[in-house]
């Protein structure tokens, strides 16, 4: 699991890459939270385009970042979820927390 963090004006975009499970989520969480606390963006985008696997640890990852963004008055967007990852997210009703988009089928 790797993550590329891109800073825009009042936005942070995190491009997640690889497998998200209990093992990898804890590593990724630290770098996202550090970036958010430093830049205090209005919007945090989590991009799942290159995520090849995700279990319920991904839900924890999104929920935790949602809470963090809420404390600084910002919003969260989850995008490019694969059908598998979307199915897991739906179990948690993640779409109530922010904008959630599936990957577009080409």
């Amino acid at each position: 699991m790797a993550a590329k963090i891109v800073y825009k004006q009042r936005e942070i975009c995190v491009y997640l890459d690889g497998e998200i499970d209990h093992h990898s989520a804890s590593l990724i969480r630290v770098s996202i939270d550090e970036a958010v606390s430093r830049k205090r963006p209005q919007l945090l985008v989590l991009d799942f385009d290159r995520v090849t696997f995700m279990d319920s640890s991904g839900i924890g990852l999104v929920m935790g970042r949602y809470k963090l963004m809420k404390t600084i008055g910002g919003k969260i967007r989850v995008q490019n979820l694969s059908p598998g990852a979307y199915k897991v997210m739906c179990l948690a009703g993640i779409e109530r927390l922010g904008e959630v988009k599936q990957k577009e089928v080409v």
């Binding site: 499970d21 209990h22 696997f53 319920s56 924890g60 929920m63 598998g84 948690a92």
Partner: protein
Amino acid sequence: MKCVNELKMTLDSKSVNEGFARVAVSAFVASLDPNIEELTDIKTAVSEAVTNCVVHGYAEKEGKIYITVSIFEKDIVRIKIRDRGVGIENVEKAMEPLFTTAGGERAGLGFAVMESFMDKVRVKSAPDKGTTVVLEKRIRGKK
């Protein structure tokens, strides 16, 4: 039901092995020619069960995780994941969605994922004895 193929493996209870466990199980099940969704369902459910052993069963301490994958006639897969950890006092409560004792960022949805992605989920547990989770799914494949 007649078992036609079986895999047994023992893993150290380390979070780094979660990935290996789900990939090994899915590779074994691949002989039944499942579709991508079925394979993802199995990988996800196994990942949840193995994570439970690491996080709860052994609470990040050392221990062994025992996995048996049995393929039965009519393309039925049964995956047994067992630990000899702390066990669960109230299985019914542990299986409730959003219930977690782990705190932090565990969503409490492990059993909910297993139940919605597999056909059958059985949990046997006793305090200080350990926990066994049995997952079952019939592979329909590309038919």
